[in-house]
Symmetry: C2
Subunit: 662 residues, 2 copies
């Protein structure tokens, strides 16, 4: 509120606007196709009637659109506009007194009390003349006619009728007097990402491991035959670790050893050698053309390729020679490798994002993204964004999305909670989460309530990877295939976007003891797998992804709700589509070792089901159907058979025909 006496005064109080992240400092995130809802407290002194509009435009348009906001009680108003385009939208609110409606309400009270309203009718006519002065064309002529009717009306009742009838009110609403309007003091932003930002199943694989001849370096061409399999499992995105030439200096050998064999391929994250850097491909994988062919083949198979954006260099990267000033340097001028004393990572040179030549460095980093965008990539999984300036991400994501709003950035920031949130606010489309380290009921419930139902849901989309090349969590190491099935169900149903790293479908669980590292990790060597080895989960994964596709409830991120189960090891939750047409309820035995039984509380009230109604649930993994009634159902889940059950609710609508039935 302004403190000055002169000039415009704000006549309407607009506050408590939601969504408004951190006082309007950061945009919230939604997806194309959403109806975006904005609420605010809109009020004024006294009892005068108000009207309010939600104003919005895309960043590309200069013209604002408006939709009406409606009061929903307790001085709260709500309006909605469709996010039709993949772009950023601005929105704000304007509200104004509605003197005609105020006058109508007052007049009705007076008429009801049989009071003299001659003077009030003159006031109403004066207001209507104001409407006429704002109206145009046919409407102005209609208003002239109304005013003539008013003048010529022979009785108070007839005059009142002219001023109160539907046609008059409609005309008045069409030409409101907005001279006393108050505009909310900020323009807020919502990013409308494409739907894949919210809904997708990701599959991570090392292209060099996609060959079929053991020991031979796989190629992009080897990846192409794999696409059908991966698509058949129901994935949407294939994420590839870095595909660039790999450094030779201090190359790591198998199992992260410092003494590589001559043919050890090295870690793909040690980017760059004499054959090129971030804009080149490792020749053993093929050529840029081969990569292009893979991107096209993937697209034909209904898949998108995601690349790793890992901003660091091997000592052999062309940047090192061309731009030594971009790196951290010792007093003697040599370049510093990465260290976390006493650990040394001599195969990696971190970039100095604050160097004197910062602007050129940042521009070059940006150009890497545009290079791969040119080659058909629209998804970047960003390696360790929490070791680069947050201001860099604000800038570079803004630059890219201004031109290519369809580009998705996934933050691989396994770090402190506040830093993860800051990166999401800074612009990352999606984020990795602590999911792999949340095993049991209280911690799963607490964490996913925070992610999906609080303020974080406005800007932070958790992509739940069940494993990664760096994280083979203890539950998978020790829980066998039952744990792989259980953790897959959790990932695929707690979030609308999730992923696995290849080998998951084979229940690979061989770890370096006391660590979460894979033994014989693909990070340092080529693997060739038999994708059809006994006990594989490919069909199970395909089933789960089909269930995800078939059920709109699972397409949403913010609709997760936890329900009560009376056993500590049985997690019980559900999702409902926003139109209420699809409801999925999930029970998961979190213990991969033992069967457990629980009584589940069915959220009948939330589902509008009468406690006496019989309804059908269909378990979507097994196809079994059950008739349920009442608030409590008992379930037994045996991890040796099915560690989880996914129920779709099917009701039997009872129709009472109110008209004859032919």
């Amino acid at each position: 509120m302004s403190r000055s006496l002169r000039g415009d005064i704000r006549t309407v109080w607009i506050g408590g606007v939601w969504p408004e992240l951190d006082g309007g400092r950061f945009p919230v995130k939604r997806e194309v196709g959403d109806l975006f809802e904005v609420a605010a407290d809109i009020l004024r002194e006294g009892h005068e009637a108000l009207a309010a509009v939600l104003r919005y435009r895309t960043v590309k348009d200069s013209a604002w659109h408006e939709v009406r906001m409606d009061p929903v009680g307790n001085d709260r108003w709500v309006g909605r506009f469709p996010l039709a385009e993949n772009t950023r939208y601005l929105y704000t609110i304007e509200a104004y007194p509605d003197p005609y409606r105020t006058w109508v309400e007052d007049l009705k009270k007076r008429l009801a009390a049989d009071m003299d309203v001659a003077s009030e009718l003159l006031e109403g006519a004066e207001l209507l003349r104001g409407t006429r002065s704002r109206a145009t064309g046919a409407d102005r002529r209609r208003l002239d006619a109304r005013l003539t009717d008013f003048e010529e009306a022979s009785s108070t009742v007839a005059r009142a009728r002219v001023l109160l009838d539907e046609e008059t009110l409609e005309l008045v609403d069409t030409y409101p007097d907005r001279s006393g309007a108050t505009r909310y003091d900020r323009e807020l932003e919502v990013v409308a990402d494409r739907v894949l930002a919210r809904l997708g199943a990701w599959y991570e694989m090392f292209p060099r491991s996609q060959g079929t001849v053991p020991g031979r370096h796989g190629t992009f061409q080897d990846c192409i035959p794999r696409l059908r399999d991966i698509a058949a499992m129901g994935f949407d995105v294939i994420y590839l670790p870095p595909i660039h030439p790999i450094g030779r200096s201090f190359r790591k050998g198998r199992n992260n050893s410092l003494t590589p064999a001559p043919d050890d391929p090295g870690s793909p994250w040690a980017i760059g050698n004499e054959q090129g850097g971030h804009k080149a491909v490792e020749p053993k994988l093929g050529t840029l053309e081969d990569f292009g062919a893979l991107v096209r083949a993937a697209r034909e198979a209904g898949l998108e390729i995601a690349l790793d954006y890992a901003l660091q260099c091997s000592p052999d990267h062309p940047y090192v020679r061309a731009h030594p000033e971009w790196f951290h340097r010792r007093p003697d001028g040599t370049i510093k490798y990465a260290e976390n004393p006493p650990k040394k990572y001599q195969d990696i040179y971190p970039l100095n994002f604050y160097c004197r030549d910062r602007e050129a460095l940042w521009e070059e980093m940006k150009s890497i993204l545009f290079f791969w965008i040119e080659h058909g990539v629209r998804i970047f999984r960003v390696d360790n964004p929490h070791t680069k300036p947050i201001a860099f991400w604000v800038w570079v994501i803004g630059e890219v999305q201004a031109v290519h709003p369809d580009v998705i950035f996934l933050a691989e920031a396994f770090t402190r909670p506040k830093v993860m949130r800051a990166l999401a606010k800074a612009g990352f489309t999606q984020s990795y989460t602590y999911f792999t380290w949340r095993n049991f009921k209280p911690e799963l419930t607490e964490y996913f309530t925070e992610l999906t139902q609080g303020v974080m849901a406005e800007y932070f989309r958790g992509n739940l990877f069940a494993n990664t090349p760096d994280i083979l969590p203890p539950i998978l190491q020790q829980g066998g295939c039952a744990a792989f099935k259980m953790r897959l169900i959790l990932a695929a149903t707690l979030s609308s976007t999730y992923g696995i790293y290849s080998g998951y479908e084979l229940c690979e669980n061989d770890a370096v003891p006391e660590t979460e590292e894979y033994r014989d990790s693909e990070k340092y060597q080529i693997k060739t797998r038999d994708w059809n080895s006994p006990g594989h989960l490919r069909d199970y994964i395909a089933r789960v992804n089909t269930i995800r596709r078939d059920n709109p409830a699972l397409h949403e991120y913010r609709n997760l709700r936890f329900y009560e189960s009376d056993h500590d090891d049985i997690l019980w939750y559900g999702k409902r589509s926003f139109d209420g047409g699809n409801t999925v309820l999930v029970a998961v035995n979190l213990d991969p070792f033992e069967p457990h039984q629980a009584t589940l509380r069915v959220p009948l009230d939330a589902l509008d089901i009468d406690p006496h109604e019989r309804f059908q649930v269909e378990e979507l993994i097994t196809g079994m159907r059950h008739l349920w009634k009442g608030r409590e159902q008992t379930i037994r889940l045996d991890p040796g058979k099915e560690p989880a059950a996914i129920f779709r609710l099917n009701r039997f609508p009872s129709k009472d025909y109110g008209t004859p039935c032919y």
Copy 2:
């Protein structure tokens, strides 16, 4: 975060600042003498050490002061500054990387791992040379000496010692490199009101009823002998309904009748007649000089006079003739009286705050405040602020407090919750509340948790009036003296600021049936009371106000906590002084009709009391003392005797002398 590449980049992320009301749009409120605490998330990429300062200044000063902020875990930092003056303060945060501390931590790890640190020592010396370049005077010479010691040191160990020792670190901390500092993007405001804004007992009385001869109009002079009594009851503020000349047109008679007797004095809220308006006093009360004498006498008795600021006019107010354009007018030019059809308030003309001559009107309204400030008034109880523009309050309170920060504005807004909050954000020092309509345990607990422990506590101070001339609540009408005692205890201990309207001490409870109006209300007639009539509560009130004065725990507003009692009618809560030195626990029987017994849960953990410790509680109304032990205590409260108990906690400190005791 800026989206530009060029220019300064923000290297430190500062977010989640608290307090920050509505993104910094409104100031929070505190009182002189408080230590104001500000917290923020402060973080950066990587693991570099950070430093942060809280910057603050009063609105009158141009120079900023700084205090260090300290990390408290999870990237949260906290700093505090004292609110030494009754004024507004601005505050913001600045944070910057601390490369020397980062370097020290790194070096220590290397030394611990027995790594070669020759190069690192050179880097440290370079950083120290940077410190030297910023240092001045003796410190610069000290740094020169440190650097010479470094150059001349014969071993790595000796060189490291120079760079790591206390003196060096202290010098480095004194001259930080703040070139990479990030300033928080907003300057926030805190109003430091005087303590009376938070802590006070108010007594409302009609001066015309303070005479001793029945039927005779009381005067300001009659009020003076009353001061000693009111001060003896322990009050701090005497609030007087309007003292101005009262209109004659459509004057209301006894019990709000439309047919007044010739000697009926009329409602003081129908302000103004030919003898003057808002800047005059009703001649029957005395002169402006008499009023001045009352203000002085009150001050001598330790009391302050609060006036009513009621912005409306009787038809006889001088403004009506001089400024007809300031009022709402009918099409025929006549001035509109107040109406809520079918009710007519013909004795009241509302002002039109949006009239064409708005600026002159607002200035005149402001001048009323300055007039009474000139006459020694520093507290205004504002009548119906929710019927005037919120923008007017923002402006007028800002104008007054810029010159007189000690002026207190109490909003008498009994209206919708969002409007009440908006007025408090707009600048009102205190607000009336829904207290009179909150009788039972769940509603009292919920409402006062909201008022004192949530965001509202940052800007809304609830002044709990137990009754007003407009509100004699049913519980007082029907509950007899027990209810008056019970509601007094609630008002006086739930909030640090509360009030009663005179007659409360006599348990006056005669209502117009089916309403909350007093029968024979003082609003329309003069009352003469026998203040010593049997059954009066004056001693009880004095006792309660003494307990308030003696117990610092009751001086605070935001320290209210509710505890568990196992009986629906026994409310159990407490307050603790911020230094922990004073703890008060209150049990109240909310049922004025029947005795009830409850088991109370004693919050031993919050009080740091061992479950096996014996401690003393002193009941402050009766003076009874008890020894308690353990988490549960039983209490029985008989409304016929004492409807409430106020316990002060007295512990028996057990001292173990660690040194000989002489």
